[in-house]
């Protein structure tokens, strides 16, 4: 994980613009991300369920570093995007950096 701001880092807003444990969509150059803020951490995931039928992820229920897909209830680890057993799959994740309340996402 790159933990410094590089030219690939994109500023998406300040921490108070995101509710705790309520996802929000951020669109960066056409790519939709679901941003989740927890007490500890901010996560950025591709805003698309890994379920074959897709659908948005940002409306899911957040618990610790997991999010439950709102339409199919798959449990997804927000740290690495891995879907938990017995379902399988992985969501793309993006590194997030917070500096003085400013949030940056690194696109890759």
């Amino acid at each position: 994980m790159s933990n410094t701001i590089t030219e690939k880092s994109v500023y998406i807003g300040t921490t108070d613009e995101f509710l705790e444990r309520v996802g929000r969509t951020v669109v960066i150059e056409g790519q939709s991300l679901a941003i989740f803020k927890t007490a500890e951490q901010i996560y950025a995931l591709e805003d698309r369920s890994p379920h074959p039928k897709g659908g948005p992820l940002n409306e899911g229920i957040v618990s610790g570093h997991y999010v439950y897909d709102p339409l199919y209830d798959w449990k997804i680890d927000m740290r690495d995007g891995c879907v938990q057993a017995p379902d399988e799959g992985q969501v793309r994740t993006f590194p997030v950096l917070v500096e003085e309340n400013k949030i940056y996402v690194t696109m890759r």
Binding site: V10, R21, T25, P52, G55, S63, P86
Partner: protein
Amino acid sequence: MTQKQKLVVVGNGMAGMNTIEQLLKLTDQYSITVIGAEPHPNYNRIMLSYVLEGSKTIDDIVINDRAWYESAGIHLITGKRGTKINTEQKTVQMDDGSEVDYDRLIIATGSNPFILPIPGSDLEGVIGFRDIEDCETMIEAAAKYKKAAVIGGGLLGLEAAKGLVQLGMDVTVVHLPDYLMERQLDVTAAKMLEKELESQGIKFALGKQTTALKGDTRVTGLTFTDGTELEAELVVMSVGIRPNTELASNSGIEVNRGIVVDDYMQTSVPDVFAVGECTEHRGTCYGLVAPLFEQGAVLAKTLAGVETKPYEGSICSTKLKISGVDVFSTGTFMEEKQHTTITMHDGWKGTYKKIVMQDNVIVGAVLFGDIDDSSRLERFVKKGELMTEELYAELTGTGGCCGGGAKVNVAAELTDDDIVCGCNGVTKKMIVDAVTIDGLTTLDQVKMKTGASRSCGGCKPLVEQVMQLVLGNGFDAEVKEGICGCTTMSRDEVVEAIKQQNLHTVAEVTKALGWSQPEGCSKCRPALNYYLGMLWPTTYQDEPASRFVNERMNANIQKDGTYTVVPRMYGGMTTPQDLKKIADVSIKYNLPLVKMTGGQRIGMMGVKKEDLPKVWEELNMPSGYAYAKSLRTVKTCVGSAYCRFGTQDSLHIGELIERKFERVDFPAKVKFAVNGCPRNCAESCTKDIGIVGNDGGWEIYVGGNGGIKARLADLLCKVKTDEELIEISAAVLQFYRETAKYLERTSDWVERVGLDLIQRNTVADVEQRKQLAKRMDIALSRTEDPWQKVLKDPKLKETLFEKVVVTKS
């Protein structure tokens, strides 16, 4: 490094892939190629019935997607058919002429539906029911045509018929014998089944033999031996299956009815094995999944060079996958001279039980209506259990003080490799491991981990017993139902603990009560949020993060991520002004569909998330709560205000009730109906609370439901005045709020707690009723229109509904 051996599987179906899954757990000595004629990856064929009926999609039933094959290093070839095996050169030829080499080969080609050799069977619109393509053909036909016939009243035929009824077709099942499922049921059970299915909309033509199908290009009807005819634009043949042996017989492999295999699934040719429905083992060809998991286990071990018991055949049980119909049969269920039987037929409850014994040994059973004993009976038959006095008392519910002594745990008698869940091939050991190694304690968790009880659900009692066996007193089957995998506490224990320990937030609850996951999961968080709000109505801070998306967004999310908006219309009444606003807003936001809902409201479908606040603002109408576990609608008839039969003013009372009880949270959604007289035009009997006017006052009905599990409401009481009507309604609703499990509809609640208890608390005990009504008023006093709330709070509006759009410079 030694070169891996080449293993080729022909047939990408359930048996072949289950064998490979089991093999991969044992060894990586093979480089594997799979050839499948269907264009799809491997899917759960038995769930096709659900796809047809519309409760599952094809994606839902995929077992292994393409990514799985890739990650397991399997070379998957789809859309090609194996045509010939050269057993000398050890190659398989495919229909496009290409070839693959093998060191060892598995044939798992399944079976084909048997198509009756009668004139017209090749007409368009005549199909079998076997694969995704058949399913798609039926779904397309249902959109275009009205009448369907299913030939064959067996398991598959009935499931097909039910699916087609669900798709809106007029369906007749044509069956040669005089009663249904004659291969699985006896006459009594079959007649009960027929009656039940008739009430679900399936028609029957029994004792009829089809002689020909009529039509020029597409089928138009059937003719029978007795000269009668039946119109049909779609004909599904479901008269049996034939093992698919073409490939084997083309290649000089011994074939009888199926491909002949020994107890290790070896065919007549060295290094060629066969598994699943294409095989014939000791003279038997199977047509259900349970045997193929057992065969797969033996074959996987054989291929991996691990020692294994021989495969000695399977005893089959059947369960029909039609909701509302519980039938089960196992072993020999048709008695002959040498058999004795125990039968119990309860015509009132609609249950039937028959146990067949030979020399006191249990050899078969049929259950209808109540199939709780299915897994035990299945076990008894497998083991050849002797009928004893105790067993008799237990199975017939005649012994002990309260209908039978303690039930014996069958699970103890299972060996590690015994299959507990036939649909998903889950063995006892897999469940035991899930409990002992992964530390799981609830049925839900085990279901998630292993897949057991995920498909037909017939194995649920046995899965519970296995868990019970391992966990001992730590497992309470009842508890596992209500609440989630984060805790072993039941709903009542949780609610009691919240009160006792004075817990006020979700985080306090999960911490104090030792939740395994500190922030809970998608099941318990909304439940706790509800319980806390119910217990502390004046102080609890609702947590939007613990609500389902619909309730957080105050609109119903649709599968494409857009939302539906339903404005409130008290008692189903609106005004031309409001209608005009709805029309204007729908046009302005380009909504694809405006639809009347079942509860006499207007649904505006297809609103984009970011447009929601604007739509609400421009409508300037209260939220109709169509998304919420709350009062949805009060359906009314026109009553005495307009109707010549009306004795009571249902419109007025309907509006009053809706205004009074709107917005407060309930364990599940709540619907009312109010009628001006017993003609019941607004359908009280299927509502949570149904009110029917008569000359001297009102009747109050509770616990009706028109959904998945239809239930007629029970009469709670009769009242004289409108005041009593409102007070008792309030008391019932509050009693429901305080005692129901989260998500439990009133229909299930009434059945669980009993009408008696509700009557005592809300009708007979006047003091108690007043207390309940008062607590309801307190809860009601704290509510606020959610749409207005969002509109008044710009920050909330922005963070909850608006996307952030970033463009890099």
